[in-house]
Symmetry: C2
């Protein structure tokens, strides 16, 4: 027992990052059957969330908001365009910039998505009090991460 002690830091049960990683996956899994009805994935859903709020954003701005780069967003936005929820076009003033805009159909999807947060909430086993604490800690951590980057 004592001889194993030096490895305590490598035990799964002593990790903070592992439950974070596992919980995040589990939560996204809970979204799946709910988002299936809208024919979108979780990543597509948060992309639409960013767009619903701003109507039109560059790929770069979307990436900054939801922490994804062009390697993930380029194919994802093409799929959302195929589904008819967004339009992709080059900015007139700066041809490097890809402007992504929500279509009429994309805004209709917002109406159908209104019930999603409520449906998901019933599947996530956490009390409202703990949810608040969790959100506060995670948001603070994200803010610190952002401050680290530059």
């Amino acid at each position: 027992m004592l001889s194993e002690d030096r490895y305590a830091c490598l035990r799964l049960e002593n990790q903070l990052c592992f439950p974070l990683y596992a919980c995040a996956k589990e939560v996204v899994r809970r979204y799946k059957p709910i988002l299936d009805e809208l024919d979108i994935t979780y990543t597509q859903y948060i992309t639409m969330m960013a767009l619903w709020e701003h109507r039109s954003l560059s790929l770069k701005d979307i990436g900054a908001m939801i922490c994804l780069d062009s390697g993930t967003l380029t194919p994802l936005l093409k799929k959302l365009e195929e589904k008819g929820y967004v339009e992709r076009s080059r900015d007139r003033d700066d041809e490097r910039v890809l402007t992504v805009s929500v279509t009429e159909k994309g805004m209709d999807l917002r109406e159908r998505a209104l019930s999603v947060p409520g449906s998901v909430a019933t599947c996530i086993p956490i009390s409202p009090e703990e949810a608040l604490i969790l959100a506060r800690i995670l948001r603070r951590m994200m803010a610190e991460f952002s401050a680290q980057q530059q």
Copy 2:
């Protein structure tokens, strides 16, 4: 402003799941340069953690411990075998079962991994107090998720 209120639940900033998702990714990203020196990925690292503790486990048991299925683990374990850290063999008593065992080289890796948790901790911007609270909430949530499943 008031007319937008019904969409408040679809704002990114009002989500709990999004910071969870984003934080988990960010943390795994912090592991990368550290694990690169051991030539393993984060998923391979937690797989080895499970194996370091038990020396030998079935694929199913590993999956239960780190929340992954055979679709992810089968190719991952083959890679760990190629690297020489584990051995894969069929259980004599039950040929369906794949037994995964740590090799000598795999146990050597454990020594080299001893500094990983400390290195990662310096990159994760969270106070020890908040880390404890976070770990407690996430572990409780995982326990509840497990209880839901069956």
